[in-house]
């Protein structure tokens, strides 16, 4: 059975100012409107809100690494908004009847920007590189699951073998976390990839300065854009620059003053201003869900009634609307609404009901109150331990946690928000010393398994992502059926049942749907988005004046 195990850092990636990108395949995307007719040439300057800890997407789990390297790296396959897999560097593929082998036929006209030709040996070098311990992969290797090896059948045919069927393979293969580097560059070792990435993509990296920026030049030979791209041939821009401006007000100020042409993550508080500004345009791309995971094996949340009471005692809709000015919307399922397999039924499954919360807590035996108004049972206060890395706060999540703390106090919960360091967080996570943990998932249906499969409860030193420590035989069975099923429709139906059940059992409290908010000068056009919400610049242009 496939048990995706994610590392410490991959788990944290979901919590920290990096969103974990799980297996691809949600339905976001589409071209950004505006910007007039496409223009050839020019330089586009784009500013992002976080910084890569590692530049090689085989190593890093970070969104921002994907944004920095997608201009450089192509993938074997591409993905439509609806999740359909299309060719890219591979022209076609066959899956063996036992679903353990994928045979890819490759394009024969592709060249890396260092002159190395693309072939089956390059594919093998890359796939082996992902699982090489020296790569220290924090995401791609775990998404690769039971990868066995790659055979070079002939110069342009590569066969990828697995120990057991692994149906999410083509989905993850389409992401830049499985991007194809020049094998010549890979051979130089991880130290080289820390500051330089060489691929066959529409741009080539000129200079990367950590904590500052990356500059790119157009690859004039680029003739292998994926069929999912709205523009074939070399990129329209001559040059691209991506800057790291982590401070929200600085990034937004740089956009409004014309010092950069487009930014990732328009601050929610500036969203209305930006939308009212005629010189600016904002593209919204829903990408994932931010949720609270309730510890079902330790502490007060082992009682489902207490979990339900917690969830019912907060008016999340009002909190989210007030705090994010409409930039983010209330979530109902751990999947985001645009993701294939999203179960709309969850929207009527739960909501704010303080009377119900009080009744449930009474039923659960938390009937007495102490001097401060908190509920108690057998002299013990109804306390929730909530470790938060305040130093790495983003999207005003700390503010939100304090508002939730004030709301649930009304029905008698005492929330102990613990401001912890990164390492304390790891220890608490590993030892299950928490009642509630919050993080966001760039969730597609397959990633539900890492959130709720029994196999993903943390045991031993390595942390895995089932923070609710949820274990249910029926749900595990649905996951196994989904893994073995090659029919997408059957899989999605199984995942809908999973959503119903975890919501019914109050294992997870979805809080808000995250959107990528790209703000751009009106003269910028053609920025498109991958299904995971990452911006693509091969299609982009910048008007004169």
């Amino acid at each position: 059975m496939f048990r995706p195990r994610r590392s410490t850092l991959a788990v944290l990636a979901a919590v920290l100012p990096l969103t974990l990108s799980a297996c691809g395949g949600d339905g976001a995307g589409g071209a950004a409107a505006g910007g007039g007719a496409p223009v050839q040439g020019g330089t586009l300057t784009f500013a992002v809100n976080s910084e890569p800890l590692a530049l090689d997407p085989h190593t890093s789990p970070q969104d921002v690494t994907a944004i920095f390297t997608r201009p450089i790296l192509d993938s074997l396959v591409s993905q439509e908004k609806d999740g359909t897999i299309k060719p890219w560097l591979a022209t076609s593929w066959e899956i063996s009847p036992d679903q353990r082998s994928y045979t890819f036929k490759l394009r024969q006209d592709v060249k890396f920007t260092d002159g190395t030709p693309f072939d089956a040996a390059a594919v093998k070098a890359n796939l082996d590189h992902i699982v090489d311990p020296k790569t220290k992969s924090q995401l791609a290797a775990s998404q690769f699951g039971p990868y066995q090896d790659t055979e070079v059948v002939d110069r342009y045919t590569a066969k990828v073998n697995f120990e057991r069927p692994h149906s999410p393979f083509l989905n993850v293969l389409s992401t830049v976390f499985f991007g194809i580097h020049s094998p010549k560059e890979l051979a130089k070792g991880p130290a080289a990839q820390a500051s330089n990435i060489v691929g066959s993509g529409p741009f080539l990296l000129e200079k990367y300065t950590a904590h500052q920026s990356a500059t790119y030049r157009r690859n004039p030979d680029y003739r292998w854009a994926p069929p999912t791209s709205s523009h074939q041939g070399p990129a329209r821009l001559d040059r691209l620059e991506i800057k790291m401006l982590v401070e929200d007000s600085v990034r937004y100020g740089a956009l409004t003053s014309g010092q950069v042409d487009a930014i990732l993550a328009v601050p929610p508080s500036s969203l209305r201003l930006a939308e009212a500004d005629k010189r600016l345009k904002v593209d919204r791309v829903p990408v994932g869900t931010y949720s609270y995971f309730l510890n079902t094996t330790h502490g007060v949340f082992t009682d489902p009634k207490v979990r339900d009471a917690f969830r019912s005692s907060v008016d999340f809709k009002t909190l989210v609307d007030k705090l994010y000015f409409g930039a983010f919307t209330k979530a109902y399922s751990p999947l985001s609404p645009q993701a294939p397999g999203y179960d709309k039924g969850t929207e009527s499954q739960w909501g704010f009901d303080a009377a119900k919360a009080n009744r449930l807590l009474d039923e659960a035996g938390w009937t007495a109150r102490d001097g401060e108004g908190y509920r108690t049972k057998d002299g013990k206060r109804l306390t929730l331990r909530w470790p938060i890395l305040k130093a790495l706060d983003r999207e005003s999540r700390v503010t939100l946690s304090e508002q939730v703390q004030a709301e649930v106090k009304k029905v008698g919960f005492h929330v102990d928000i613990q401001n912890v360091t990164f390492n304390e967080y790891l220890v608490k996570y590993g030892k299950a010393e928490y009642d509630l943990l919050d993080y966001s998932m760039r969730a597609d249906a397959d990633s539900l398994r890492s959130l709720f499969d029994t196999g993903n409860i943390t045991k031993g030193p390595r942390l895995t992502q089932n923070a609710a420590r949820y274990s249910d035989k029926e749900v595990d069975g649905w996951f196994q059926q989904a893994l073995a099923s090659s029919d997408a429709k059957t899989r999605l139906e199984l995942y809908e049942k999973v959503q119903q059940k975890v919501i019914a059992q109050s294992v997870v409290v979805p809080v808000y749907v995250q959107s990528t908010l790209v703000g751009r000068n009106a003269k910028v056009g053609g920025i498109t988005f991958e299904p995971q919400g990452f911006p693509l610049f091969q299609t982009a242009w910048i008007g004169r004046g």
Partner: protein, 332 residues
Amino acid sequence: MAETAPPAVKAPVRSHRRPSRITGRAARRAAVRLATSLLVFWGALTASFFALQAIPGSTVDALLGNNDASMEVRQQIISDYGLDRPLHAQYLTYVGRALLGDLGRSYQLDQPVTGAIGAAIVPSLQLTAAGLALGLAVATALALATAHRRRAVRSISSGVELVGVSVPVFWAAILLLTLFSFRLGWFPAVGGDSVAALVLPAVAIAIPVTAVLTQVMREGLERALDEPFVLTARARGMTDAAVRLRHALRHALLPVVTLVGWLFGALLGGIVVTEKVFGRPGLGRLVVDAVVTKDLPVVLGVVICTAALYIVINIALDLFYPVIDPRLRGVS
């Protein structure tokens, strides 16, 4: 010439008669200074080594990253990095290597620590030096202009200084950016390489520096201006400006120089906020990332480097005192 000089001209006579005593004293002072410096250096190294050990969480986990690494791979990495050896052995190896200038390899950055620090230290030093120079220049001008002036002038000046010291760098930086970059467009908010991009961050860190230095310098100036030699100078017909510049300023500079040495270390330590707001690379960013990822060699490397810089600057300033104050040339 020295033999025929009148006794009033002291210096040449003294240099003729007592050269060995002066150099001997200087050498002893340098030796004491070096010994205390090494002690400071060792203290910084030891304190940070053990502080990092005290942080919960396993270095191996931070180091491995790879979730599916087998037990053998885990063991291999543990022994490669010497993490299986007792703490005191790790510590001794570390101190030994550090003395030889080998700071080891970063766990996370896939490069030698010296390389990572070398790349980060240049922009940090540029910023710190620019901020200090600016602060010193403005403080000198302000102190000269306000010392022993009317009560109103001095109260206004003290008030402004108090605000300057109290303003958080973060807030000042955002304010400067909003006004001079986003509104007026005089300086770029982004772009770390140009001199123009250095102006606003330098001003941001110069604000508290100026405020502190002005106060100290004005106090020194006022004390000097009350000395009898000032009265003598004025009696000889010197203008007020000349008295302040030529006589009083030297007296006021001594405590300022001491303070600059300390400020240098303080600024370098607190530089991360400015670096973050202005999107600049540097030592602050490097060390914060390293602490977050438990990248021990980098943290220790930065501590050692900062301590060494601090020591060098302070020795240089020590040597600089006699230049300002001739009275110090003969005594220790």
